[in-house]
Amino acid sequence: MKKPAAPPTSVDGEPILFPRGVHDIRPRAQQFLEDESLQSAVREATTLKDQARRDVLKEAFGDDVDQIRSIAGEIKRHTIDHLDHYIETWIERAEAAGTRVHLASDHQEANRIVVEIAREKNVKLCVKSKSMVTEETHLLPQLEAAGIETVETDLGEFIIQIDDDAPSHIVMPMIHKDRKSVARAFVRELGAEYTEEPEQLTRIAREHLREKYRRADLGISGGNFLVAESGSLVLCTNEGNGRFCTSAPPTHIAVVGIEKLVPAFKDLWFLLHLLARSATGQPLTCYTQVLTGPRRQDDLDGPEEMHVVLVDAGRTRILADPQFRESLGCIRCGACLNACPVYRKATGHAYGSVYSGPIGAVITPLLQGLDRNPTLPEASSLCGACYEACPVNIDLPRMLVALRRKTRKRRGTTGERMALWGMRIAFSSDRYYRFAASIHRYLLRCFSGGSDRLRAAPGPLSGWTRDRDLILPASRSFRKRWRDRGGAIR
């Protein structure tokens, strides 16, 4: 298998994930907008999943959906507010069940712990199931550097690995790739015969990976939840590769962010009712594994050693800021990505992070520094679709605004201040408002050049239309139409 010396790069020549220096989402988004096939693939997939989520939640919970989302949010918020307590309890119970718990303050430490265990066990081949945190820590290159062959086993991640690409969605990692690119990669990297049939491509990957499971001496996974009352690790997967990685090899290491705690099973069940429905429209993922320690003495199989690496890597910093703390409640369902009009257009790689979409626009700056990602909080129309979609009721728009506020060091320009002053007057009385609205309508028509939207505003306003178009107001105002229909106006 090809071993990339450098991480795969994006259209701007920078690594797809975690570009060096200051990342600007705009140049990438600009180029992805031109890519018709990418646009239609992402549009289709996200629209379908977004609709599926609405439908199944409605079917399962009827009109209680919003109340249920807010309870789920409360469960996560309560846990995060008392995270020290629940982590301590979890560690105690997990160790009692025979799990070896490791604590990593940052990325380097997390990677070092994993590589050390692998070295100690003399690991040659490692099979890995999907884990966002290990993408975040860049674990793979570290393992490869230590001479350990590491194979991603989730179909999408496997394809991405052999095609030297990077995931662009937290649930549908290869949403940006088409079957042709998979076919070519399989011919090139696996020596397979060319086929574009997803069914056959899947079979090829299946056979290839089965051989790996059998030979692997280490399995690495992420974790969706940690249950404090029992010290369990919970994994939600669909393909079965996660089960292989945690059952077949003699050693299992799970790399998990500290925010994954839930107090008790009843809380777990509550959140599980929402996770898969919000992610893919399934009632539950095909496999929900509750793992509590390594194989017991009389167990017929399972790993002899189970390790869990709890990763902080910037999370306590987020915890310390009450403004942003709730972002740690995210259960990584991807619903906010699917619902987001900006994600759908800009697409995942534009964000330059494993976490894209609205949640990525919030936590990437928080985890890596706003100074390195100043444009991410701007990547939102603040329409609120993400907030409405979020199963744990995270107020993403509020945090996006708070982050924007942090990037504004200066007061507005004279022009901006004058415009706001004018607006204050316009909104102060009914008459002024009507007058301002009619001028507004007139001017927009003049500048739009007969088109239905304003694409380039004149003079100092041109900055505003550089990244957006403005749809023109109707030619007749609501008030006028109302009056024409005989409606009364106060």
Partner: protein, 221 residues
């Protein structure tokens, strides 16, 4: 894990939260029952639970056959013969196994017990047979475990998975699963459908790594 490292780690979290070691936790008071689905139908509750389970299990792509307990072996073997399955691995659960093994022998299906060579398991066994420890009606899930009677791989490696489920083990919702935190098996898996992926252009494909076919034999009495 060394105590000091743990304390430093936890202290940092406490500092971020403004909490002190051992500080108590206000109880979390929320209405967990809100997520319960409403059970359709009226009358016999068992009957309704079973109907709901069958409906939901089928909806997620698992097949369900229903029979009285006395006919489990017959129904299971029928399924195996119809699917042209000639070799199975069976978990050590003693409940129905004796009769089932006899019937399979009669139909010249090769029966392997737990603990066969991995080569055999990966290459020859066409179906793993396990007992469901429980089932959840609202999600259509069956619960299998890794234990001293059942390996994790039996329900994972072969392309078919046959699950025997006693109808008394169906609970209404996840919240009703009886779990004692001190006494969990090392691995408990809720199976809600055959192994699936939609990674390539969203095309749904079953049987990626795990079994592509899950057959449930639901028995009563």
């Amino acid at each position: 894990m060394k105590g000091t490292a743990k304390n430093i780690f936890l202290d940092r979290i406490r500092a971020a939260l403004g909490r002190s070691p051992g500080q108590s936790v206000d109880p979390l008071v929320v209405d967990h029952d809100m997520v319960r689905p409403s059970l359709p139908g009226s009358g016999d509750e068992r009957e309704n639970l079973r109907a709901l389970f069958v409906d939901r299990a089928r909806a997620v792509g698992m097949d369900v056959l229903i029979c009285p307990r006395a006919e489990v072996a017959k129904v299971a073997v029928n399924f195996l013969t119809e699917a042209a399955i000639t070799s199975v691995q069976i978990s050590n659960d003693p409940i129905i196994e004796q009769e089932l093994v006899e019937k399979m022998n009669e139909s010249s299906i090769r029966v392997a017990r737990e603990g066969v060579e991995l080569d055999v398991l990966y290459q020859e066994i066409e179906c793993g047979i396990t007992m469901a420890k429980a089932a959840v009606a609202s999600t259509g899930s069956v619960v299998v475990t890794g234990s001293d009677q059942e390996s994790r791989l039996t329900s994972l490696v072969p392309p078919n998975h046959l699950v025997l489920l006693a109808d008394s083990r169906i609970v209404e919702d996840l919240l009703d699963l009886s779990i004692s935190p001190e006494d969990l098996p090392s691995c408990m898996t809720l199976v809600t459908g055959p192994s699936k992926t939609a990674d390539i252009e969203g095309v749904l494909i079953t049987g990626v790594h795990g079994p592509g076919r899950v057959q449930i034999v639901l028995y009563h009495g």
